[in-house]
Subunit: 369 residues, 4 copies
């Protein structure tokens, strides 16, 4: 109840600071019998690893995950799955200004206000490094979803004002460029833009889009725990995210009902389908069987090396220049964080949907009837 637990049936608790002993996560509520290996989780973690290109920090984190419990003979046991990533480099060093001066755009000031003091080393608990625990936990959720035929896929939709063009969209291309953009041309333009930004000791933002396919209709709860409401929370819980939208999103505010409504029809097999997907796969907060499509807006990296106005903890004004190398853009590394937070959300609500109907429950719990 201090914000480090996520989910209800499929639940994770994360821990760890940027420059502490490590980062970790414990998954509780993963059903028994799911095949799971460290290598599968590691593949997700590798996608958020820094140092993979010009637009990421050079620090080599390594981030080797170790599964400590909850897996036996290659399958989940139904009991907690603890995973841990030890920090390689925790030497005590000079944190200089960061220790006393509040960095603009960071949580230094608010942590001090909330807790009375803070672990100032590299941002402590408010560091982006905290997301490693989510990614490890979310990898398990993604694997669980796959066992039900559900696939979650995120990618970079825009960098600054350079956007993936629908007509050039090529999902395979996202794996070919360091920005994870599924559009070769947009990726090239975005790289040029980022080079300009970096030359000015500045940073950039962008938008990540995510699509969930294969999710059956009926997932998400009415009223407060709507699928889109839970996804919105999941996205805004990621450090630099400033906005969330599903389907037409903010664009829906500009459409009329006639333009925005999705009709219903029957497919060749007589199954009900929607004639369009302006809604982004949810109606009344419950999945409608169409792809769930949503976006998260990510602000520019707040750590820039230009001088900025600030104050010290002791209450003196001070100009701050942040040293060291920082990602000029968070977006590419956030892609897998968006994807795994979406997986955690969908997995939890999918499990919850299993208990919504008496007839289905009777089929599970009294199979002999």
């Amino acid at each position: 109840m201090a914000g480090s637990v996520y989910g209800t049936l499929f639940q994770i608790m994360t821990w760890g600071e940027s420059h502490g002993k490590g980062i970790g996560v414990t998954v509780d509520g993963c059903p028994a019998g799911l095949p799971l290996t460290e290598a599968q989780v590691q593949r997700y973690l590798d996608r958020r690893r820094p140092g993979q290109g010009r637009f990421a920090t050079k620090r080599q984190e390594g981030d080797q995950v170790e599964i400590l419990s909850g897996v036996f003979e290659g399958r989940t046991t139904g009991t907690p799955i603890a995973m841990e990533i030890r920090n390689k480099d925790q030497r005590s060093r000079d944190y200089g200004d960061i220790m006393d001066v509040y960095r603009p755009g960071h949580a230094d000031y608010t942590f001090d206000q909330k807790f009375g003091f803070r672990d100032y080393r590299g941002g402590g608990r408010s560091s982006g490094r905290e997301t490693a625990g989510r990614v490890a936990g979310g990898a398990v959720a993604a694997l669980l979803l796959e066992a039900f035929g559900v696939k979650v896929q995120a990618y970079t939709r825009s960098v600054g004002n350079i956007q993936v063009a629908p007509e050039r969209f090529d999902l395979e291309e996202m794996w070919q460029n360091p920005l994870y953009m599924p559009d070769k041309q947009a990726a090239a333009e975005a790289e040029d833009y980022l080079n300009q930004v970096m030359a000015q000791k500045d940073s950039a933002g962008g938008v990540v889009e995510c699509v969930i396919t294969g999710l059956p209709a009926g997932v998400g709860d009415p009223v407060f725990d709507k699928l889109d409401a839970c996804l919105a929370k999941a996205m805004l819980s990621i450090g630099a995210v400033k906005g969330f939208e599903i389907g037409e999103g903010f664009g829906a505010a500009l459409l009329t009902g006639n333009q925005d409504n999705d009709g219903f029809s029957l497919d060749a097999d007589g199954r009900i389908q929607k004639t369009s997907n302006h809604a982004g796969g949810v109606l009344g907060g419950i999945s409608d069987g169409s792809p769930v499509v949503f976006r998260a807006a990510i602000k520019a990296t707040p750590s820039i090396s230009r001088p900025q106005r600030s104050v010290t903890r002791q209450g003196e004004e001070r100009e701050l220049e942040i040293k060291g190398r920082h990602d000029p853009i968070i977006v590419p590394r956030a892609v897998v964080v968006v994807e795994t937070m979406a997986a955690l959300t969908a997995a939890d609500l999918l499990l919850r949907s299993a208990v919504s109907r008496l007839d289905r429950l009777q089929a599970i719990l009294t199979p002999g009837r």
Copy 2:
């Protein structure tokens, strides 16, 4: 755990369907000693009442709230506050097509998929009428916040593409027009636009903005229960909301770090303040003492009287024309829903922030020290 409970320390559970016996809410966790009357709650409910102008349905709901428990001698007792609004008109009537044909843009189809059947009368639990319970509960939260000097205020920011102009912004004006727009000229233009839309048997959407002032720095929890993450969930849990953004929101994705970062300075009394508020009042998910500013995008009313493509529950294609009068726009009635959901969220996190520091707790729990 089926989505009808909201909040952790300050908690509500809502119930009720559009055409059932009534709508209600129970508040648990409101601290003891808060002055509370039915009239105070009624004022909030009256703001979501339909039939107040051309752009709202003519149905007279009344919506008189009754407080059933938890208040004694004019003050909250610390035990559950049950509130109830009896539905006036629940005559059995002909629901015609709605009973069998899935309305586009509504939750008819997804409720059937989730639960196997549904209360089809007026949308049942997925009706906008469900929000009456939230508003009653949120009114208590808003009154609690006032006891701490915190004020929550929402208003219509745009209707279709007609937006409140910053230079004409006048909060008092919002009470003078049926659209709750704090800009007389924009309200007039929006009314023209809505008349056109109605003439075409169509509907419109818009954006609601909300500002929380007086919230001390330090509210909101790190990682998953960030203030903005909780607000995002609160907003998307409202039926027709398709997007959420805080501060610069989606615009932040277009800014550079240098443009978006808020500096720190000292005010005349030597207190720390930000030099701007692009962040919208949160840093790392924790309130920073500036106004919390966020927006919710609301889609056009899905009930339109034009013919729409649909299918029946039994799996036949059918053209649907929705009869009866419906709001051509939900936005004005959603303003108080946005406001009260924000109040519920802020009240809960404010209470939670009371237990984050040992020194503060010792002051109240070991008074003799």
Copy 3:
């Protein structure tokens, strides 16, 4: 989070005070499709009604339940089931000493300490009348369990030191005497004892036993949410309960491992069964397929008309004589409270057990596989 919510998947929130406008409960998470009527719930409520014999108060409460939501065409819809019992008699009257003097054995003093003041009318929220909400909610849980072939049955096991004799145990007999004792002779002896106690202006306690049959093996979660741990909480949450034990209970502390362990064997159909049931139906907190057998110890009614030492709210010593008629024993009316709290607990954990295995979930969530 102020103690008025019970359960996780099958969840209730109760409200109401002894002399307020009414008592109520909202059930969230009951699966859709369960047949449910007010008459079914009423039957449970009638069992806790006072005024049914010499050993219960004469006040006629009536306690007519009204279902306000969540049921459509005779079946639960999967959305919240609100139920309400209006108090008949809430005339303002003279509460005399109770208003200022703390009654021994009651929560008057502790409510004042916790909340700063209290609704002193008839005990307010700490009145035994609060259990009416639980019983109504628990009736739904009991009916849900029946749909899975699970039956919960409680009865009076002892009154003072008069205990049901195993060799005379006759479940049908419990419906024939006002003490709900399944042993005619013990019931007669207990009535004599109670007459003596009443003649001395005193009161008595006893033990309620409860048996859950038909619960499949595998219900209850390892570690903290063990079936027996949840039952223990359920029982101690009932006002006058001072102890809980399962199977051999406190007697197990006197046995050796060889005496207490239950062996395993095969029944005629080759199914695994235990050779005894000292454990009371749980192993490691998980149901083992045997009957779940537990007991709750209930203290004597604290309201007695003898003079007692007390103090006033204002801090003066005062001798207190409680006027009015009070049950000389709570036990018989507690039987249905024990039974319904057990039903709530078992229903919740039964639903939770549906999501513990991947293979079972795949059968319902990916039916096409």
Copy 4:
């Protein structure tokens, strides 16, 4: 939501199996500013260490705790405190019969029923070793309570039918004997009894008593989250516990109201006190300022080397003789588990009590008023 999370504001999640890589716990919600070292936690863990006397297994576990996060410069930061105890000895070895034959009195059968298979090595997650995580987390809770002047102390009250005599009660003595009995003579008798039991290849049970002193009046929530209800759950969640009672407990069922009620009087300083403590420190589920006194009944160690009737996983009857050394009695090692589970419960409810009154909250949250 699979049973591995305990608490609401002060919350722990535990993980780990008997013969896996380790055991651990993460604490979320500990207020910032509490001094905390590994040595302080280790002192609690050392008390549950086996191999400390004749009546405990010879296996040397070591159990060195490592704090991985949440502590900076010697104080808690308000963010999650992850703690880990690596298992020293996880060599793959021959588990022989245990792999296939269900041990009487253990959770082997029920885990298989619930999850479809299990980690059979040393009991896996259902091993008593699981409690190491609770003890580490509970140590933090105990230290937090001390910061508020609250002390939790458990001890062995009885072994078989040998009970601590009130007139010989000497708390210091408990540290002098391997049974943690605060009565030298009873401890000597209990040792004789255990020697007899061991000679018969059998095992014994007993009762642990626990006292919480210094807890202010007003802790515990009405209705479901009563202090005693939460303690009952805490106790029954410990593997071998079969019963819980508070104050007079089951004895209260034999007393009359006149015998059981505690009167109120004023102490020398005019403060309200009770004239006795039959209630065990709670009235209506809320602490009354007196010591909270409760007991947990613990069954005999189920692992005995005598032949027992059992069946195999494959459904064949088989006689089982459990090899290896096992504690002939769990009680002494359970003392610290009882104590730390009580600390977790009291710490959580103490924090929750901080938000029950508006006046106190205003003192914390708007100190300048």
